[in-house]
């Protein structure tokens, strides 16, 4: 079976090759080129401006916020979604019946559009809503959720957590299920107490699955757009201004295609480097605890 299928192989792979040339490689080079120009998306001519766009970007609040907001989202979103999905997975795993019904149920939020989630949250937190009325009349709390910098960030992070919990719980449940029941029995004989079971046995054994969900959730924070676009437009005062939001505003609202391309490249570099560093840290952390 050492026959080479050169022709057929290239034929079958050709849709991808054509697609990636037209919509990936070409645009990549074009984007690099644009980032050194002052093109405004409309006029027929534009000038080559060197590194001006990059230098300008470093000093603007839009880009600075885009850089920091991603990490602020991580600090709020990742622990919440990890704790929630781990809790759901541990609870659901021990159910002898209807386990899949529960898992599918928890998974449903993942199917919602960011627009729909934003719509519900906006209504739920509107001035006349039952929640706000209750907080105001009973507890004397008048919170402008989307008007405060931290609360706006928190609301968006909670929407994301709502959306991803069921998905990650599915990954964690299958991680938990791959643990052999005999491990627990052996540990019980060795004198591991019930209260230590989770930390000493379950957590280390399920770490590969947790690692997967952590990488996914860190990665997800770099792609936040819809919820922020719908709910806050990046505000208040850039508190929720993500990379995607900043690029969208600069390119399609302010029509600064050259400048926006420079920001897009900075965003890509920040994303690449951050994910790489996070992976390394997680691997080191896992190794040091003897989990990997």
């Amino acid at each position: 079976m050492e026959k080479n299928n050169n022709r057929l192989g290239w034929l079958f792979a050709s849709p991808y090759l054509i697609f990636s040339t037209v919509f990936f490689l070409g645009p990549l080079i074009w984007s690099l080129y644009l980032s050194f120009t002052n093109w405004d998306l409309i006029s027929p001519t534009y000038d080559f401006v060197g590194f001006k766009n990059f230098i300008k970007a470093l000093g603007t609040p839009g880009v600075r916020s885009a850089f920091w907001v991603t990490y602020k989202f991580m600090i709020v979103f990742v622990p919440i979604v990890t704790a929630m999905s781990l809790f759901v997975a541990v609870i659901v795993k021990g159910l002898p019946k209807f386990k899949s019904v529960f898992l599918i149920g928890f998974f449903l939020p993942y199917l919602s559009s960011g627009v729909v989630a934003s719509l519900i949250v906006k209504g739920f937190l509107s001035h006349t809503s039952p929640v706000q009325t209750f907080l105001r009349d009973r507890l004397g709390l008048d919170i402008d959720w989307l008007g405060g910098s931290f609360s706006a960030l928190f609301v968006v992070a909670m929407i994301m957590a709502w959306k991803f919990t069921g998905y990650y719980a599915l990954i964690l449940t299958s991680g938990l299920e791959s643990i052999d029941q005999e491990v627990y029995e052996a540990a019980a004989i060795d004198g591991v107490k019930d209260s230590q079971r989770f930390w000493k046995i379950t957590l280390p054994l399920v770490y590969p699955a947790i690692y997967t969900t952590l990488i996914l959730s860190f990665g997800a924070t770099f792609g936040i757009f819809t919820e922020v676009y719908q709910l806050t437009g990046g505000g208040p005062n850039y508190a929720t201004n993500t990379w995607q939001m900043e690029i969208y505003s600069q390119a399609f609202k302010n029509l600064q295609a050259g400048y926006a391309s420079a920001i897009a490249i900075m965003a890509a570099v920040a994303t690449f480097v951050s994910i790489y560093v996070i992976r390394k840290i997680l691997e080191m952390w896992g190794k040091r605890n003897g989990w990997v």
Binding site: F19, V92, W162
Partner: protein
């Protein structure tokens, strides 16, 4: 093992209770959406559980309400169905073809293509949005269905999933079929596809859902009212139509329900497929 029988029973009931409470909290936003879409307009966003129900919001939606356009919501719904189904079908077709080549055909350059797909997959896509938009504009596809379909016709994740799955299929199947004189097309269609039913369900549902809820791309490449997808229409009405929250919820139901129904229909196959790809 430890404790009496009634003790474990009690523990299990507590576990079920927690699971149910958690599930209710998690699906509550959906319930809130459905209830508000059916609530009398005086109660929308004012009651946790509305006491007066009406179909007025849906009526408003299906007749076009107070906009000038006739039935924009129904039109947008069909745009979404059309665009999502065709894009997803193409994504599936190409993913299967390319994955078969990468997993089962021996040809020069295969490893390079494989590595390139991985690189492409992990590349932050945001950098490409401006030039891709410009390509669509330059070739005159702006504001057409093609703009919504062609750049979204390829899924790297789909290629990746199928490549992994096809690699796990023993070569012996293929060799046997070859001895019987089957062509590669026939092998793909008659052997590989029937074997990959559950993973096909997972890939199809994920891709369809992602395409169905896409916002940024769909928002920038079409402009005219008749071209909008449902997600974009809902997004555009978000601000100006705050005076009509009821119909907005009805629109949200219209956008959410089809995908949920599909997942529930394919629930079992979806679970099997997930189990495979999580291993």
């Amino acid at each position: 093992m430890v404790g009496s029988n009634s003790n474990t029973k009690l523990r299990l009931s507590v576990r079920y209770l927690i699971a149910i409470v958690l599930l209710v909290i998690m699906v509550f936003p959906y319930l809130y959406m459905v209830l508000n879409s059916l609530a009398d307009w005086s109660q929308v966003d004012r009651k946790l559980i509305p006491t007066k129900l009406t179909l007025r919001s849906y009526q408003w939606l299906f007749t076009g309400g107070e906009t000038g356009i006739t039935r924009p919501w129904i039109h947008a719904f069909f745009n979404s169905v059309f665009v999502s189904l065709i894009s997803t079908a193409l994504m599936m077709l190409f993913a299967i073809m390319v994955a078969y080549a990468l997993a089962k055909l021996k040809f020069r350059g295969r490893d390079s293509i494989n590595n390139f797909v991985l690189f492409h997959m992990f590349f932050p896509a945001i950098i490409l949005i401006i030039p891709n938009f410009l390509i669509i504009q330059k070739v005159g596809l702006f504001d057409t269905y093609w703009a919504l379909i062609i750049p979204k016709a390829m899924s790297l994740w789909g290629i990746f999933m199928y490549t992994n799955f096809f690699k796990a299929v023993p070569d012996a199947f293929i060799e046997a079929a070859k001895l019987d004189g089957a062509s590669d097309f026939k092998i793909l269609y008659k052997i590989m596809m029937p074997m990959s039913k559950s993973i096909t369900t997972v890939v199809f549902l994920f891709l369809l859902m992602e395409r169905w809820t896409e916002l940024l791309w769909d928002m920038i490449v079409v402009r005219s009212d008749g071209m909008l997808t449902l997600n974009v229409l809902l997004s555009q009405m978000f601000g100006p139509y705050q005076a009509y929250p009821g119909p907005m919820y009805a629109g949200a139901v219209m956008l959410t329900l089809p995908i949920i129904i599909l997942f529930i229909i394919f629930g079992k196959k979806f679970q099997e497929g997930m189990q495979f790809n999580l291993k």
